[in-house]
Amino acid sequence: MRKFAIYGKGGIGKSTTAANVSAALSMMGKKVVQVGCDPKADSTLNLLHGHPVTPVMDYYREHTEGPDFDHIGREGFGGVFCIETGGPTPGLGCAGRGIIATFDLMDEQEVFQKLQPDVVLYDVLGDVVCGGFSAPIRDGYADEIFIVTSGEKMALYAAANIIKAVENFKSRGYAQVKGIILNRRNVDDEYELVKAFADEHGLPIVADIPRSKEIQYYENKGMTVVEGDPDLPVSQIYRELAQKLLQV
């Protein structure tokens, strides 16, 4: 089982990337679990044709007990099993602890033992703001981290912070950063900027995803572009990224 965590600045396209990679992996015949680790709970929306799964934290709010296996997540496109941690009511509670509680529940419900996935993708909130948001890279969860960034200054700044945080965690046995996913925002010299950043940190750029209207087009239809039109050039890039992740 390969377990990846996708990090990056808020709004940079982590969920879009994760969902398209999941869709592409499923088209390769892989069993995939995607876990959205963000209170917004929108990671898997485009794998579910706009019918969102109930986030685990929402379930806890509405019921006295936690969800059982049949209610912890739902299969979406290509059989991708979608789970959303969700979070507390905005302004209250502790979202990071919600991620840990969801992982505990997944462990107890033996989600991975039951599904036997080939790949698990953790799609994590932009910034590692507290212990809970590092939970996906703790020992036993993701083994490899990929950071999504554009050439924008703040996106690269966030990526640098994530790399620094992860390096600090090395002695704790946490996952390490294995590559950069360039999600273009059409900044001048974007590839060169990101390449210089990647080289500085000794990381490869594993994908160069162009800004594409087709992504938005299919997202408006509640699906990934990979599902909507797998032959489009941008879909092909996601499919190549999926293959590359398995090879890294």
Partner: protein
Amino acid sequence: MKQAQRVLSTYAVDMFGIASSLFELGGLIVMHDADGCNSTYDTHDEPRWYDTPSMVYVSGINEIDTIQGNDQRLIDNIAEAVEAAHPRFVAIGGSPMPNAIGTDFKAIERLVAARTGLPTLGFRTDGIHSYLPGAGGAYIWLAKTFLKAPHRKPQKPAKRVNLLGLTPLDFSVVGNATTLKQIVTDAGFTLQSSWSMGDTLDTLAEAANADVNAVLSSTAFYLAQYMRDTYGIPYVVGIPMGEKGTADWLEALRNCDSSYLTGFTGQEKYIKAQYALADLNAWKTEPVYADTPCDVLVIGEPVYLLSMKAMLQQEMGISDVRMLCPLADAPRWLLEQVEVASVEDVIRQECRKARRVIADPIYARLLPDEKEKFISMPHEAYSGRHYHADMPIFVGPSFSAWLKNKLT
């Protein structure tokens, strides 16, 4: 507020279970908690504290360390204590505060092990679960870390016995452990090891040479399952209580009869201790049990319940016996025949239905007008040292006379 305990107490928590199961083994045991005094964990429920050397410490976590998730002070302090005390291992567990901020005890385990070079257990206790999963997890870690490969395979009829789950939390220090060991050796068995009273880490390391494991409390069921899966050692669940109970238990041990008291096949699937919020909610459920009265209700830990029920039925001639376990996080297999209730009102209702109640004396507070129906069986994990003077030796043939006297 239904979960509030108005007159009842609470059971020893998970960290107490770790401290109790590891107490005599020469390890440094650290509670990661704000408490400046370890008596909260280790004197109220640990009778060995007064006369047995041990190394149990509290980290004294403070507000700023908590906010900043600063584990470094804990690691530095542990390293300093290790240098001074030379323990055989280090065990670290948490309290509610580290649990609330999601402290990564596996990472702390790794860092402490690297720093000290000692076998280290980082256990994610939360001070909310009971001593059962705490001790259960510590036993599993001990087995995985220290058990040596056996010299020979388990034999049947069994000759060499491990006594598992023998902590003061369930057996106190009033003579149960000594009696139990005497019963085993008098019956011609060889006592391979005793977890956890009276043996050293080196003795426990040889436990895989046993022919059979006697599971004396729920704390040891996970360990017994691990040793079955790893070394093929069968388990027998039960405590030898009373004349017939003792004879039957010895016979079950000799024959490696896993079905004794439980009906088990001996192949029960390993179900690990539960730690999620969902499980905690099990403490809050209000089950409704049969409204019919019963002759005797027994309250306590599941292995004790099964053993007491057998004794009441087979030796005391009382057929209508019900068992109630307030510990919702006991191993699931052991709860199959047992009612589970933690909410005070539910337990009160169950006590009301019974003609006699055998339980820790604190439960008598539930029905102040019916105190005479309660038979006091103090449970260290529940009332601590408070009722030591009333605690009988409930292991062995002599318990028959004691119980007969109480029931008349």
